[in-house]
């Protein structure tokens, strides 16, 4: 199908300016289009970033962060009812007992399982869909690690700190950047096929907000490659790691001393509940893209519905930076079938340029994500974007320039997923640019942890996107892949250690009752039941007509 006829004129202008933009890139783009100063960044964020709009946040009225301003949608989801009726639920005897329970089967969960087992623990890993069905599988561009001689963990630290608006928890960020090289090697030793230079050294590219080349990659299937290797490794230990697929946790279980002691799982097919009693529990449920905050489309996995944050919050865990949302600068806006899909930042790492409808390069291509996204929103708001037939707007991401800069075949070789994605809809990205607009991408905040992934609830740990603090209020590209590996590993090690010295007392779900009382006292009336588990995409008209009485997943208010 390709681009509609009316876009031809704009596409021609992109072609016309390309030789000049190519020359600038060859001479060092930052000599022509300067990265923004602190003041310029602040201005574009304040005016155009969705987080800075007056309706972005509201006070949360219950729970450990009561009184704080959070992302409005997050506050709404936190002020909700449990799926479990605490007065009638029979909690003992449990159906399973284990050393370590891991909730979530993405990158952090699998890494934690591998390391908890190495440290001698018996593990149960439960997950909502299949093992590996997670945002981890979808990351394309890469993983940051200071593996080059002229780089260092300290430089990595400074880049991430500035990108995160200096809100990153220093001790977490230090762990992240310091353990990067070790993780790169660990994954290679498991068999991950990193992109390499001829001498065997890792191929590295810059990312938004990095001052060095630090992005390791596996073509543009980086997440898929790491995830399938981790999953394969988890499956190599069936004697120690029991995987329960299609069995998400829906509430945590505590013991009489207030320690976390496992969780209640729900079978997605049958609706049956089971109780897992565990000496230590790790939440690794990922993020919240499928909440479609402010109506944005998302790059996220079908299951990214903030489940872990809700469960932990109801049990009393403190959250950090749940007022901050990451919009990826480059989501697809055309063709409609791929609306909101991720266009990897690696495209810009290889020299791809965002240009407006007149073919003008309007921003330094490698600003930190929130700044880059805001600049794109500004360009469109001021009328220099291109409208799609179904009413969206976007700017071009000039990909053909990559082959002109790096030699023919570079795109095919390094971006097979993107080439395939667009080819399916009749667009050849080696010859034509992509139409893009920011898309909801990452949960910057989450459950507060220390450098060994411990939350404010004893024996409850958390790792990966579900946590807050590592990235401050804006994550840089490639730091989430590193995050889930570094902290997944640490969570596994720590949980195994805690399990050895823990005796679990009598199980209780009194915290659910208390939370319900808090809702009542705050005068909150809501029909929302959480964790949400899966978003609602059915035709609502059909739903109202036929399905109302039958479906246990029916969201409130319909």
């Amino acid at each position: 199908m390709g681009y509609p006829e009316y876009m031809r004129e704009s596409l021609k202008m992109v072609e016309r300016t390309r030789p000049q933009r190519l020359e600038m890139a060859k001479k060092g783009l930052r000599n022509f289009v300067k990265p923004m100063s602190e003041e310029e960044r602040e201005e574009v964020l304040r005016k155009y970033h969705p987080d800075y709009q007056p309706d972005a946040r509201r006070e949360v009225r219950v729970g450990p962060n009561k009184g704080e301003l959070l992302t409005a949608k997050v506050a709404e989801v936190l002020e909700s009812h449990s799926r479990i009726d605490p007065d009638n639920f029979v909690i003992e005897p449990p159906d399973y007992e284990t050393d370590v329970l891991i909730i979530g089967g993405g990158g952090a969960g699998c890494m934690a399982a591998i390391w908890a087992r190495k440290e001698g623990a018996k593990v149960i890993l439960c997950t909502k869909l299949r093992l590996g069905d997670a945002n981890s599988m979808m990351s394309q561009g890469g993983m940051q690690a200071a593996v080059n001689p002229h780089d260092s963990p300290v430089i990595h630290y400074i880049d991430a700190l500035g990108g995160g608006h200096f809100d990153n928890k220093p001790e977490l960020l230090k762990v992240l950047t310091t353990e990067g090289p070790k993780i790169a090697k660990f994954l290679e030793d498991l068999g991950v096929m990193w992109d390499k230079l001829p001498d065997g050294h890792y191929q590295t590219k810059p990312g938004g907000g990095t001052s060095r080349r630090r992005m390791l990659s596996c073509k543009d299937y980086t997440g898929a490659e790491i995830m399938r290797v981790l999953r394969d490794e988890v499956r190599n230990h069936p004697e120690d790691i029991l995987v329960l697929e299609y069995n998400p946790a829906v509430e945590l279980v505590l013991d009489e001393e207030g320690k976390c002691a496992g969780a209640i799982l729900m079978n997605m097919e049958t609706g049956e509940y089971t109780v897992v009693k565990a000496k230590a529990t790790i939440i690794a449920t990922g993020g919240f893209g499928r909440l479609h905050i402010k109506g944005f489309p998302t790059t996220n996995h079908y299951g990214a519905t903030m489940d872990g944050v809700v469960m932990a919050y109801r049990a009393g865990a403190k959250l950090l930076y749940m007022d901050s949302v990451q919009y990826h600068p480059t989501g697809a806006v055309y063709p409609p079938q791929i609306l909101g899909f991720l266009i990897t930042e690696k495209i810009r790492g290889f020299g791809g340029q965002p240009v407006n409808k007149y073919g003008e390069l309007f921003v330094y291509p490698l600003e930190p994500r929130d700044v880059e996204a805001s600049a794109i929103i500004r360009e469109c708001a001021e009328g220099r974007g291109i409208k799609t037939p179904d009413g969206h707007v976007g700017v071009w991401l000039d990909s053909p320039i990559i082959d002109l800069l790096n030699g023919p075949g570079t795109i095919e070789k390094n971006f097979p997923a993107m080439v395939r994605q667009y080819r399916r809809f009749g667009i050849d990205i080696t010859k034509e640019p992509m139409l893009i607009y920011p898309t909801l991408h990452y949960q910057n905040g989450g459950i507060e942890i220390n450098e060994w992934c411990e939350t404010t609830i004893p024996n409850l740990l958390a790792a990966g996107e579900v946590t807050g603090g590592v990235h401050g209020r804006n994550r840089l590209m490639g730091n989430s892949v590193l995050d889930y590996n570094v902290f997944g590993r640490r969570a596994g090690i720590k949980a195994a250690e805690l399990a050895k010295k823990t005796t679990v007392g009598k199980l209780t779900i009194e915290h659910i009752k208390k939370y319900e009382e808090e809702l009542r006292e705050a005068g909150i009336e809501t029909k929302l039941v959480t964790p949400i588990l899966l978003p609602e995409y059915r035709n609502l008209e059909l739903l109202k007509k036929h399905r109302k009485e039958f479906d246990p997943f029916l969201p409130a208010g319909i």
Binding site: H150, L197, G223, A224, V229, N236, H301, A417
Partner: protein, 229 residues
């Protein structure tokens, strides 16, 4: 926005009217299905939504990813959320990267009759049969390259008359290639050693004790060096 035209599709033999231009996944959702399996990342990276379909006037059975395949009029669709396949359990540390691993763990690999059904069904358009042949020859590099974009959806295995689980053999081949056969860099070991010996601790201590204003100054004045590796 104008109303999209509705077209008929058949799911497990029943007719549903869905908007033209929908993918299999969004068409099913429009028709009222709450998908709990057979759906994952929705962007073509996870292989959860493998589907089989037949088109009117075409005797062939096609495979595709539900999230990437646009429905056409009178298409007959079924989702294949899972293909049972016998994953071998192995210790990657003790394996040797030669053809004997397949004799040991996936001997059915050698039953390949070169019918090319796997290649024809692959929704990623990989040359599956070619990588199977490469594995049979013990050519791990070729097998790893050709199978690299595999999403492990399992359709090859479901269709194979020789009952090979190609996608499981392939991840074993790739892991062995990545671990043992790909060229290794030297500097990484030096960097890890530096870190373990505490080379950066002093710099971190200094940095972490600085007030915000000084940190900002360091950040905004840092040099960008993106050319060399």
């Amino acid at each position: 926005m104008e109303e999209r035209k509705l077209i008929p599709i058949y799911v497990l033999g029943k007719k549903y009217m869905v908007p033209e231009g929908s993918t299999i996944i969004t068409a099913l959702e429009y028709a009222g299905f709450k998908l709990k399996k057979g759906v994952g990342c929705r962007e073509g990276f996870c292989g959860a939504c493998a589907s089989l379909y037949r088109l009117p006037g075409d005797y062939r059975l096609h495979g595709g990813l539900g999230c990437q395949t646009v429905v056409v009029e009178n298409m007959h669709i079924v989702q294949i959320p899972y293909t049972p396949a016998p994953k071998a359990v192995y210790d990657i540390e003790e394996l040797e990267p030669d053809v004997s691993v397949f004799n040991r763990y996936y001997p059915e690999l050698f039953r390949c009759v070169s019918c090319n059904t796997c290649t024809k069904i692959c929704p990623q358009e990989l040359n599956v049969m070619d990588y199977v042949n490469a594995m049979m020859r013990g050519d791990f590099e070729t097998a790893a390259e050709l199978s690299f974009d595999c999403l492990m959806c399992g359709l090859c295995s479901a269709r194979c008359p020789a009952e090979i689980s190609q996608f499981l053999c392939a991840i074993l081949a790739r892991r062995l290639y990545g671990k043992y056969l790909s060229k290794k860099g030297e500097f990484i070991l030096q960097r890890i050693k530096e870190i373990e010996e505490g080379k950066y601790e002093e710099e971190f201590r200094r940095l972490m004790s600085l007030p915000l204003e000084e940190l900002k100054k360091i950040y905004y004045e840092r040099d960008l060096n993106l050319e060399i590796t």
